[in-house]
């Protein structure tokens, strides 16, 4: 495997291999010196065309903990701002002979385009509303730790599915791991034809009790301007997940950043059933495992740290 562009690039065995390796990297995080020499002397470029806190920082930390040299480029304050094309930017950065380029772009397919332009391994850190495969991997990692296995689990993905790359990658990844996925949200925010991905779709929370895991998506306030929903008030009333809407034993997840009081109530975020903190912590280990998988290889033995 040279690139991680889509969850479709991974079969179940590959996902499990990456997550197993992430477990050993997570163990490193508990040590005083949180570094292994796996990528010493190699360069990882983080190319972020969209604002990001957790994804960009965790990729940066992941590469550093693997001892790689890291260059982070953001669209603001770089030549991108001066109108340089993606292709030209990539050619410029390729002159540093990076081992990997991690890209976040507001446009679907950007990571795949890049893979055709560079010798480096390309990691998709989110492309438009298309995919966010490392988010899906860290979500599976988090759930696997809690549940042991996802087989047969019912996972509800609730909210703005239409504009969510996380939803698309997670539907695929959860199903690949044997879970049953239902998407739920306002009919204006459920894409026509989404059932073709193998999930169920429903406009109400009526049957939310069936879910073992409730995965809540971020409601993007800018969608209000496009009038996808009449008001945030009505959205919150119908779709907000609070402790009162969860039954005992259900787990709660969210990719962040959270709009408190919109898609999630404050009590839910801080409740013991919330895995949100664990998701963030999983980010570094899983991204270390992804970089290791691409740059050191699947065949390598489990980390000798």
């Amino acid at each position: 495997m040279n690139h991680l562009i889509s969850i479709e690039d991974l079969d179940r065995a590959a996902i499990e291999r990456i997550l197993d390796r992430a477990e050993s990297f997570a163990e490193i995080a508990g040590r005083e010196i949180k570094k292994v020499p796996a990528l010493r002397g190699r360069t990882v470029v983080n190319l972020f065309y969209e604002s990001s806190t957790r994804t960009s920082s965790s990729f940066e930390l992941a590469a550093k903990r693997l001892s790689a040299d890291v260059v982070s480029v953001r669209s603001t304050g770089s030549s991108v701002e001066k109108g340089e094309s993606l292709r030209d930017t990539v050619q410029t950065l390729s002159a540093y002979e990076p081992a990997a380029i991690v890209i976040r772009s507001p446009h679907a397919g950007a990571a795949r385009l890049l893979a055709g332009w560079t010798d480096a391994s390309v990691v998709n850190a989110g492309d438009g509303k298309h995919e966010h495969p490392t988010q899906a991997l860290l979500d599976v990692f988090t759930l696997r730790r809690r549940l042991g296995r996802l087989d047969g689990a019912s996972i509800w993905i609730v909210g703005d599915v239409l504009h969510s790359r996380v939803a698309r990658s997670n539907i695929l990844a959860f199903q690949r791991m044997g879970a049953k996925v239902t998407v739920c949200g306002p009919p204006t925010l459920l894409p026509r034809g989404i059932e073709a991905l193998g999930c169920a779709a429903t406009p109400t929370l009526e049957r939310l009790g069936e879910a073992d895991v409730v995965y809540v998506l971020r409601m993007q306030r800018e969608r209000m301007q496009e009038a996808f929903i009449p008001s945030l008030r009505e959205y919150a009333e119908r779709y907000q997940i609070g402790v009162g809407r969860l039954r005992t034993g259900q787990l709660l997840m969210h990719p962040g950043p959270v709009n408190r009081g919109v898609e999630l109530s404050a009590d839910a975020i801080d409740s013991p059933v919330s895995l949100i903190g664990e998701q963030v912590r999983a980010g570094v280990a899983v991204r270390m495992a992804v970089l290791y998988e691409l740059l050191v290889g699947a065949a390598a033995p489990a980390v000798a740290a």
Partner: protein, 452 residues
């Protein structure tokens, strides 16, 4: 006004004297489907005889057409030649050379240039330039509204007098029914078919591909089929009410076919075109996120494709148009959502239809030939025919010769071809347009042909 004035002849092209021996002639309208020798004298078809019955004629080059097919040359009622203003994408010369290489003897250019063809002066300069530069006769449509803004009618009568074959705001819909109605009323004064790009922007929004399972998977904003079909239905009703002549451009979906058929059954004077790519490709290809597959209207579902093929067979859709839409490499080498819409199509139109529809038995070759030659008639131009006395408009095709699209580059100045890399059969060998040789493939160059 006479179409000869409007359809500006390719300039300075020497009338051909040529004897093509032994090719299989196929002209469904003329009832021809047999091998013939064709003698062209002074650019006109002089004789059609049984093979090997004509003695060599002094001063006439001979070409062995054995094993090849000779059709009436194709007419494309919908191309973008990007001139004036975007000559880096295409010029009158490169675009019409691409047409000739694809077997076309006439093309009709759209007015969404920079500046827009919405004034007599712009149209006149184009007609003049085409006379000097075009490789095949080229006609022009003028805009319906000033600046394609959908607000104020152009000086339609003056534009007609200056040679506009008809009117279109192609690239954009005429959103206001009230404005379109006025254009249709005004047509009673000036004539000229009003051709329409049908799209309701309130429904297509920021869409970049067909709305369906593939757009849901990719997270791309969808353009639902009904953004087209509801406008077809609306404008067919307007056409009927005003008894106007309306043509629907690049129809892409089953709902539009149904709306067109219903309107015609109700007596509306309406016609429709569809494109080689909508007839052969579907939105499944967009899964690659390759911007070559981004066009407007978008590639739709297999069900839509089948409906378009059936509509072509039954004649509900009467002609094929390429919607040849060149874009520069740097414009298309960007993420799908950012790329401009459009594919080039002149050089691959016949080979794609032959390979994808005729060879698998989905459509008869005769139907393809008829629909590829019908596009000028709706604008009042004569249909190319193979008959003694007619101007020579012929295309010689080797149905057994295959090639990889784009492997040797394109004659067009741009390379954004949705068929790029496909192996296609039905290679064009020679195109005679309005009596002059407009294109001859290298293999023929040993023959004493003068190819402009």
């Amino acid at each position: 006004m006479s179409p000869e004035i409007a359809l500006n002849r390719a300039a300075g092209a020497a009338p051909a004297d040529l004897l093509i021996r032994g090719a299989h002639l196929l002209d469904p309208r003329a009832g021809l489907d047999e091998p013939r020798d064709v003698l062209i004298r002074g650019g006109h078809i002089a004789e059609l005889t049984l093979p090997d019955t004509l003695a060599p004629v002094a001063g006439v080059a001979e070409l062995d057409g054995t094993g090849r097919h000779l059709f009436p040359a194709f007419v494309d009622p919908h191309v973008h030649l990007r001139t004036p203003g975007q000559e880096y994408k295409e010029t009158l010369e490169s675009g019409t050379a691409a047409a000739a290489a694809g077997g076309f003897c006439q093309v009709i250019a759209m007015p969404n240039t920079d500046p827009v063809v919405d004034e007599v002066s712009v149209l006149r300069s184009l007609v003049d330039a085409a006379r000097r530069q075009a490789r095949v006769p080229t006609g022009f449509l003028a805009a319906i509204t000033v600046g394609l803004r959908g607000e104020v009618l152009t000086e339609m009568a003056a534009l007609r007098d200056a040679g506009a074959l008809g009117f279109t705001d192609d690239g954009k819909p005429v959103v206001s029914a009230g404005v379109l109605r006025k254009a249709l009323q005004y047509q009673r004064l000036c004539g000229g078919v009003v051709a329409l790009h049908e799209e309701d922007p309130a429904l297509s929004g920021a869409g970049v591909m067909h709305e369906g399972a593939v757009s849901a998977r990719l997270g791309l904003a969808g353009i639902p089929s009904l953004s087209e079909s509801t406008m077809v239905a609306r404008d067919a009703a307007l056409a009927r009410y005003e008894d106007a002549r309306v043509h629907f451009q690049h129809l892409s979906c089953v709902e539009s076919v149904e709306a067109l058929a219903a309107a015609r059954a109700a007596g509306a004077r309406v016609s429709g075109e569809t494109t080689p790519h909508h007839l052969t490709l579907t939105d499944e290809l967009v899964r690659t996120l390759d911007s070559r597959f981004k066009m407007n209207p978008p590639l739709r579902s297999e069900e839509d494709r089948r409906a378009l093929i059936e509509a072509l067979r039954t004649g509900v859709i009467e002609c094929i148009a390429t919607d040849h839409a060149p874009h520069a490499r740097h414009e298309k080498e960007v993420p799908f959502e950012q790329a401009p819409m459009g594919t080039i199509g002149l050089e691959t139109a016949f080979p794609a239809l032959f390979t994808e529809l005729v060879m698998p038995g989905m459509l008869e070759l005769e139907v393809v030939i008829e629909r590829m030659t019908a596009g000028g008639a709706l604008y009042g131009l004569p249909i190319p025919r193979i008959a003694p006395g007619e101007p020579a408009n012929l295309v010689l095709v080797d149905l057994e010769a295959s090639f990889e699209a784009g492997a040797d580059g394109y004659v067009s100045r741009s390379a954004n071809c949705c068929f790029h890399g496909r192996r296609l059969f039905g290679r064009v060998q020679l195109t005679v347009a309005d009596g002059a040789v407009a294109f001859g493939r290298e293999a023929l160059s040993q023959q004493p042909l003068s190819v402009r």
